[in-house]
């Protein structure tokens, strides 16, 4: 453990990882809480997997056609926003079953991503970091990018908190009262898309769902008001990410997986403790 802290002082990549954890925790806590209370985990999952398509395509055009500014991160943002828009349109105006559309986006995103990555010469190893993330590879440019996306998320949620609350809690009543539920739901889906992109950098697209649900679900056990759940989830997310970096670095394990294991362990521990406690106090 002490070896870790001497390394932390010496290596900038570890310092970057710690700073990045602060910013990813903010969107993880805020948007994770919305994902849990709106029960839209599968929307987040579909967006996450569509991100691979965007990353793969961006990398392909960057390498093959030499378009330098087209980074995988910007490809990811475009793909995630596009997927979020399609999902919102289908939910509000489409006659198609939402579940089917989510699965289609999920699979098509993965498929195009893998095709593009295979077609890109010599970048096969990138696939692993897209799928499972690597917070230790984050650059200072990535941190600025993540921080600015965070700012957008925090600002919009601050502005529309009460509208989001009503639209999530009573969508039918909101519509009857003349509130444009389609607009606010689309906005929330777009913010989810931005968060998915941010979190993909840390835990990879496969495990994004865990990051968006576990800390918020754990936090919801401690409070019955949404903004408090957001604060607690943000704090939990920060501690779990830092803990994950420390543990994985010391034991030479993959960071993203370790963070998820810690988050999952905490959540399971909490619900089993609650279950045992309620059994003890039950009369019959």
């Amino acid at each position: 453990m002490s070896a870790f802290f001497t390394d932390l002082c010496n290596f900038t990549f570890l310092q970057y990882a710690f700073i990045a954890a602060c910013f990813t925790s903010i969107c993880c806590g805020i948007i994770g809480s919305y994902t849990v209370v709106r029960k839209t985990t599968y929307v987040a999952g579909a967006i996450a997997h569509s991100v691979l398509g965007g990353m793969g395509a961006a990398k392909y055009f960057q390498v093959v056609y030499g378009i330098a500014w087209l980074s995988p991160l910007s490809g990811a943002v475009v793909a995630a926003m596009f997927a979020a828009l399609i999902i919102s349109l289908v939910t509000h105006y489409g006659k198609e079953r939402e579940d089917t559309v989510l699965s289609a986006i999920w699979a098509i995103g993965m498929a195009t991503g893998i095709s593009f990555i295979t077609a890109t010469p010599g970048y096969y190893e990138d696939l692993m970091s897209y799928l499972f993330g690597n917070i230790l590879m984050i650059s200072s440019a990535d941190i600025y990018y993540i921080a600015s996306l965070d700012l957008v998320i925090a600002l919009l949620v601050f502005m529309f908190y009460y509208k989001f609350l009503l639209v999530s809690f009573q969508p039918d009543t909101a519509r009857i009262r003349g509130i444009n539920t389609a607009f606010y739901n689309t906005l929330l889906n777009l913010l989810t898309a931005l968060s998915v992109v941010i979190l993909t950098q840390v835990v990879g697209l496969v495990m994004v769902i865990a990051m968006l649900t576990l800390p918020a679900a754990t936090a919801s056990r401690f409070s019955a008001r949404l903004w408090r759940i957001m604060l607690i989830a943000t704090l939990l997310c920060l501690l779990l990410t830092w803990g994950g970096i420390i543990v994985s670095y010391s034991l030479e394990l993959p960071t993203g997986a370790t963070i998820i294991e810690l988050a999952g362990g905490l959540y399971l521990l909490l619900i089993s403790a609650k279950f045992l406690y309620s059994r003890r106090t039950r009369v019959l």
Partner: protein, 275 residues
């Protein structure tokens, strides 16, 4: 609230004029003419699929009539009128475990007044006043998920009241509560009737006849019919003034809605244009 109750009594708040409505090809409502006056408590009853929810949806502007028109406060339905109406959803229309407290839920009734940002002092005082009306002021900070079914429904009524409406629509307000709580909710509504017009949809004719000042029975068609004066010994009759009930009673002819659907549209007879 400056005008006297008596003066308000004469006003028609909600007016259905020759309204027809069909989902796809199936006509649900046919030639509906109904006037609801201020400070009345009107219960819409009828069989499932008879069109009582549709009648409510037409007044709320969720759907538009195929023929005829619906007027609220003597004006055609519009977004500007929303602030003058309140709506209480069915008790299963929301996630009961959602992390909000009672005050949050009541304040949601005023969410459409602000484009963005927080609630102001006027919103909060309206919310507290509404909670006082439903006698739940002491639970303002309580998590919504910890309330009983009846309390949840009263919070929803407070939410509708927080908009300071002139008319409240309730969709099956007591669908999932027991009789004692049902009575309590109807007592509350009977009290609110002094200042607000109440329109509710209900399955339960029994409880509704005790409290409502007017009962509208809808089964595709709606026929206005004077019932014979009810005997005084029935304790359920004290509020009858104007009743539109179709019941299978030997003294009343039974009207077959299927036959009634074939009568020509009144508007068409008059040669009016549909809007």
């Amino acid at each position: 609230m400056s005008r006297s109750v008596k003066e308000k009594k004469t006003e028609i708040v909600l007016n259905y004029r020759d309204v027809c409505f069909a989902y796809d090809q199936r006509e649900v409502l046919h030639n509906i003419n109904l006037q609801i006056r201020s400070c009345d408590m009107v219960a819409i009853v009828g069989p499932n699929g008879g069109g009582k929810s549709t009648l409510l949806k037409l007044a709320l502007g969720i759907i538009r009539p195929l023929r005829g028109r619906v007027e609220l406060f003597k004006q055609p339905l519009s977004k500007q009128l929303i602030n003058r109406t309140g709506y209480v959803p069915q008790s299963m229309a929301y996630d009961a475990a959602f992390p909000v407290n009672v005050l949050d839920v009541v304040l949601m009734g005023r969410a459409e007044r602000h484009l963005w940002g927080r609630y102001d002092q006027a919103d909060r005082s309206a919310a507290y006043a509404a909670l006082e009306d439903v006698e739940l002021l002491h639970l303002a900070q309580r998590p919504f998920s910890q309330l009983s079914g009846g309390e949840k429904q009263r919070v929803m009524i407070a939410q509708a009241l927080s908009t300071q409406p002139e008319i409240i629509f309730l969709d099956e307000p007591t669908a999932n509560v027991d009789t004692a709580i049902e009575d309590k909710i109807f007592n509350l509504l009977a009290r609110l009737k002094e200042s607000v017009t109440i329109v509710l949809v209900s399955h339960n004719l029994n409880v509704v006849t005790r409290y409502a000042s007017q009962i509208v029975c809808v089964n595709h068609v709606l026929t206005q019919m004077e019932l014979p004066e009810l005997t005084q010994d029935s304790q359920h009759t004290r509020n009858y003034k104007n009743m539109l009930v179709l019941q299978h009673d030997p003294s009343c002819p039974v009207i077959d809605p299927a036959d009634m659907l074939h009568t020509p549209h009144r508007e068409a007879l008059r040669g009016e244009q549909r809007d």
